[in-house]
Every structure is written in C-alpha cells, then in structure tokens.
C-alpha cells in the first residue's frame, strides 16, 4: 500500500479554485497533484514542475466580439513568456484556428512559438471541420499521435493524455470519442499504476455541462470508467470559453477561458456563441480576474497494491 503525503497535504488535494491573470493559467504539479497559480506571480513548485494551458485562440476571428483574436493571443503569450518560473511545456485545448485555414494555423504557431515552450495540442471543432481539414490538422499537429490524433506522454511522473472528441459530433454538437479511441485509451492506461497522476485534456468538456448546447461528450462515461481506478485524475477542457469546475470522485474537471472571446453561461442566452461585451472590457472577460486557490485535504486518495 502506498500513501502519499507531502507538504502537509494528501496527494488527493483537489483544486478548489483557480487563479487567472491575463489569458492563461499555470498548472503546478507537486507531489503528483496538479494545482494552478497566477501567471507571473507564483514560483514553480519546488519539487515538481509546472505547465501552461491556453485554449480557444480562434486565430482568424475578427468580429465585434473581438476585432482581432491575434492581439489577445499575443497578450497571453506575453504573460507566459514573462513568467519567473519557466513552465515545462504548454497545452492548447483546441480551436487554435477559427476556420481551419493554413494561414490561421501559421499565425497561431508563430505567436505561440514566442513562448519558447513545447506545445501539446488537442483539436477543436474549428480546427477540424471535415475530412479534408482533419487530414491537414493531423499532418501539421499529429506527429507522434495515433491515426486519429490522440496521444499520451509522461512528464515528471504524471501521465498526460490528449484526446480528440471533435471529429464525430453528436446531437446538438456534443463531442464523442468513438470506439477506436476508447479502446486505445483503455490500453494506454493499462500499464499505469493506480498511483500515477493522470491528466486528460481535450477540447470539448468530458462532463455534461449543457447537452442542449453540445457542451459535453456523449461517450465520456466510458473513458471515465477506465480512469476510475486512479487516485488522481485531472481533466482539462476548453470549448465553452469560461471557467467551470467539478469534482466527481477522484476526478476533477476544469474548463478554461478562451484567449479570443467569451461565451454566455448556460441558461443565460438563447444559444452559445460569441458574447459581445462592452468596449474596453474584453480582456477582463478573457481572464483578468483573480480567484483564490486553496487545496482541500478532505479527499484522501488511498491506493492499494498487491504484494508482488
């Protein structure tokens, strides 16, 4: 049996809140537990590492809700580049481009490249519109990934999995993973011990936030079933352009803000889509907001192992 206890908190610390500044969030992994902190203000974990998540940059979008999404992505990259503790890498949880055009991807990669970090992408439905753009996306971003664009990697004892849930959209635009990807996920996780912290990231949320708006993944329950044996699972998504969190068993779910434009909260508008905010307030909606982060030691992760 292993029982991890480090720094006064149990391994199964949960993310109570997140701290955002500008348009990105930093994830710190200490003792196997991902936690977030304010970009530009916090130091990297002493015994761990940190990574950055950005999402929904929608490069190519130039409409009233944001006349130029490049400007706000650049603002996010400036924040990341100015961090005192260098993150290990960056993840982008999809909708890199707005209309899956080559010049949009080119611009996005050029801007994101200024951060000088390895970047791990998950596609959004704006990046893969049809079979043609799927092939183009995989050609550009799918190196090292499986045929469908999903992949995993390990960093600092944490197992990261990038999923693609935007190819076969279901009712109202719900995401789906599909049998092939689920089978791959089950196989990918088999070799991992239950004490391995898992971070899953994909574009569309893996929990049902608003199925009437397509804000969920139809077959995510199967994926979560494969993850249920792990003591620490963190799910990071984009798509809805706003912060939401949920804790369910050993799994914590987080959605990220966009770097381009906000969307309405479920139930507050007739439909999802770009939300027009007063002039001069856009960046506030994109994340110039402070939220207090506090670990909660109430959820203990007890991991059993056999005597072999």
């Amino acid at each position: 049996m292993t029982h991890d206890h480090e720094g006064g908190f149990d391994r199964r610390q949960t993310l109570k809140c997140m701290l955002w500044a500008g348009t990105g969030v930093v994830w710190t992994v200490a003792g196997g537990v991902p936690a977030s902190r304010l970009i530009g203000s916090a130091k990297a974990a002493e015994s761990g590492f940190s990574f950055v998540q950005i999402s929904d940059s929608h490069i190519g979008f130039a409409k009233p809700a944001n006349p130029d999404a490049r400007v706000t992505l650049n603002a996010a990259i400036d924040k990341i580049a100015a961090m005192s503790g260098k993150p290990a890498f960056m993840i982008h949880t999809g909708d890199i481009s707005h209309a899956a055009k080559a010049n949009e991807f080119d611009d996005a990669q050029q801007m994101i490249g200024r951060a000088k970090l390895d970047v791990h992408y998950a596609p959004g439905e704006h990046d893969i519109l049809d079979p043609k753009t799927r092939d183009v996306y995989l050609e550009r971003f799918g190196k090292g990934a499986t045929g469908g664009g999903w992949y995993s990697f390990d960093q600092g004892g944490v197992h990261f999995v990038s999923l693609n849930n935007v190819v076969d959209l279901k009712k109202n635009g719900l995401g789906s993973l599909g049998a092939e990807q689920l089978e791959w996920l089950e196989d990918d996780l088999k070799a991992k011990s239950t004490s391995t912290p898992i971070v899953i990231f994909s574009h569309i949320p893996l929990w049902m936030i608003a199925p009437e708006w397509g804000w969920g993944t139809e077959d995510s329950a199967q994926a979560l079933a494969y993850l249920s044996r792990f003591g620490s699972v963190t799910v990071l998504n984009g798509h809805i352009h706003q912060l939401m969190q949920k804790v369910e068993g050993n799994v914590t779910f987080h959605t990220a803000r966009s770097t381009a434009f906000p969307q309405p909260a479920p139930g507050t508008a007739p439909a999802p889509g770009p939300k027009l905010v007063p002039a001069g307030e856009l960046r506030k909606w994109l994340g110039v907001r402070e939220v207090v982060y506090a670990p909660t030691p109430t959820n203990l992760a007890v991991t059993d192992s056999d005597l072999s």
């Binding site: 959209l169 635009g173 007739p270 999802p272 027009l276």
Partner: protein, 180 residues
C-alpha cells in the same frame, strides 16, 4: 423593427354607436386606408336600412379577406410568427461563431441567403448532406433549419439551433430584411 401590419379597422359596433358609416367601396385600397369615415355625409336620398346592412357586410368581408391575404404573405411559415429584425440582429451575434454576412467562414456568408438555393455559393465547400437537400431558404425552411439542422440535412456541418420559435422568427426577419 417588426414587420408592418395592416391598420386595424374600427370595430363594427363602434361604427354603429357613433352612427358613422363607411363610404361606398369605390376602391379596395380606400377601404383599407379609411375603414370607417369620421364624418357623416348628409344625404337627402339616404339609402334604406337593408341596403346599408348589405354594404356594411360587403365592406367587412373585403377587409377581412385583405387582412388575411396580407397576413399570409408576411408570416406564411410553420411558426406563423412575425419576426423582429432588430432582436434578430442581436441574436445574430451568436451565429457569428461560424458565419458572417459578407465572408465565408466556418459556414457560408449570409448576405442574400433569403431566397437563395441552399448549397449554391460556388466558393464555399458545403457538406454533401446540404448539397443533396434541395432546399430554397425562405421563412419555412429557415425555421426548420434553425430548429435542428441535423433533422433537415443529417450530416450537415451545422449543429447550432434556436429553441425559441420567436428567436428563430427574429433571426429570419434579420436575414430577410437586413442581409439582402
């Protein structure tokens, strides 16, 4: 702006109570514009009561037919609602996740979409589903499309929908009136 409605005629009872009668139906247009004259015409050769009642019934029938015809011309789609183009323009903000009026985006440009045959822009890559749907965009087809595009053309690229019929009517009015 709401689509215009025909002016409401004075109630028939009101005409009777005031003793004001409609003029002879010389032109249908006058009937609609002046459903009930405001001044009584003194006529030394006033017609009989029976003649007046027949004329009054005739006027009412013509006005009713005209009103029904005009209403059908304005709202002849399944929802039967009159759209508010101004509110539709505000709602169109959400459509801009994928559409613009003048530029192809994730979806095709919208200017001139009302009355256009679906999947007919030569410079947009439509889904096979919409190409084979054989639709012309009018109030009825747009209402169905905005209710659930995947029912109209399963496999289409669009999933966006508006559940409220009035919202759909408003967006349709916007596309019809202001995206010409």
């Amino acid at each position: 702006m709401r689509l215009s409605r025909l002016p409401e005629p004075l109630p028939r009872d009101a005409c009777r109570e005031t003793g004001v009668l409609s003029p002879p139906p010389s032109r249908g247009r006058d009937l609609l514009a002046r459903p009930c004259a405001r001044t009584r015409v003194e006529d030394p050769h006033e017609r009989s009561d029976a003649s007046l009642r027949r004329r009054e019934k005739y006027v009412a029938a013509v006005m009713l037919a005209a009103a029904i015809s005009a209403a059908l011309a304005q709202t002849a789609w399944a929802g039967g609602l009159t759209g508010d183009a101004s509110h539709g323009e505000a709602l169109y903000e959400a459509c801009q996740d994928c559409h613009s009026l003048d530029k192809n985006d994730v979806g095709p440009r919208h200017r001139g979409v009302f009355g256009r045959k679906a999947a007919s822009l030569p410079d947009y890559d439509y889904s096979d589903a919409l190409k084979s749907a054989n639709i012309t965009w009018n109030e009825e087809t747009l209402d169905k499309w905005l209710t659930d595009p995947q029912v109209v053309a399963p496999g289409a690229k669009m999933f966006f929908h508006l559940d409220n019929p009035q919202d759909r009517a408003d967006v349709i009015a916007y596309l019809k009136e202001r995206a010409k």
